[in-house]
Symmetry: C2
Subunit: 111 residues, 2 copies
DNA sequence: GCATGATGCTACATTATTTGTAGCACAGGA
DNA sequence: TCCTGTGCTACAAATAATGTAGCATCATGC
């Protein structure tokens, strides 16, 4: 399993070697489209194309790259025939983000 | 300069016009270093340089750009003499992220 | 006054990443 | 067979980040 290698290899998750998992996580989630992808998968599995559509037609290059990273990170998995879905761990993460929806509404009404 | 233009103009926050605030928020938070900056400000105000240091010496260009965006978004504010700190709104957002610390620990121990 | 050091912030060339478009191989279904 | 949809890749152009240097301003010490 080259999981740690892939993610700590070419680019790696910043901070993954610092012994501060939170930094690695923030780096992973802070890459473009990552949060959005997780968000779009919150309710049901989506095929790679449905996911691209849901993400405002983001380019397949990034979406595919992010999906690889998220799969390496154990947050997303591919179910052949059914598309991508959040893993148990991924759903757990998602649950921490759900209140964000509520916050975003109030945030958008700021002066 | 061109602050409003930076965030609502040339590029803007993706999804800000879709009537889906959550998308705009996810886009904002999904830019490199944004989450990390918010995280580093969670406890105390930091000067721009202290912030750079805390963020593994990220380049001043990005840090400054992110700070501008976050100030525009009303999540961070500059207190002359004391550096940057989260606004009330920003702290509210931070509170939703605090459980992430706990999650990150478990996540890093995944098989 | 004058240097010193810290602040917020910018310039700019190099490097990395994203975008947009096209396309591949494979697996059903008609 | 010819469609259509899947996951995924190639590649050039556009965009963003990095790393280094430096600016103007302000406060302190001398």
């Amino acid at each position: 399993m080259a999981k740690q290698a892939d993610i700590a290899g070419k680019r790696g998750v910043r901070g993954s070697r610092t012994g501060r998992p939170i930094m690695a996580l923030l780096d992973l989630l802070g890459r473009r489209w990552t949060l959005r992808i997780i968000w779009e998968l919150r309710q049901e599995p989506l095929t790679s194309r449905a996911l691209r559509t849901a993400c405002d037609e983001a380019s397949p290059t990034v979406v595919q790259a992010r999906l690889s990273e998220l799969r390496e990170a154990g947050l997303v998995e591919l179910m052949p025939g059914d598309g991508y879905r959040l893993t148990l761990l991924g759903r757990e993460l998602m649950e921490r983000f759900l209140p964000l929806h509520h916050f975003a509404e109030r945030w958008s009404r700021r002066s």
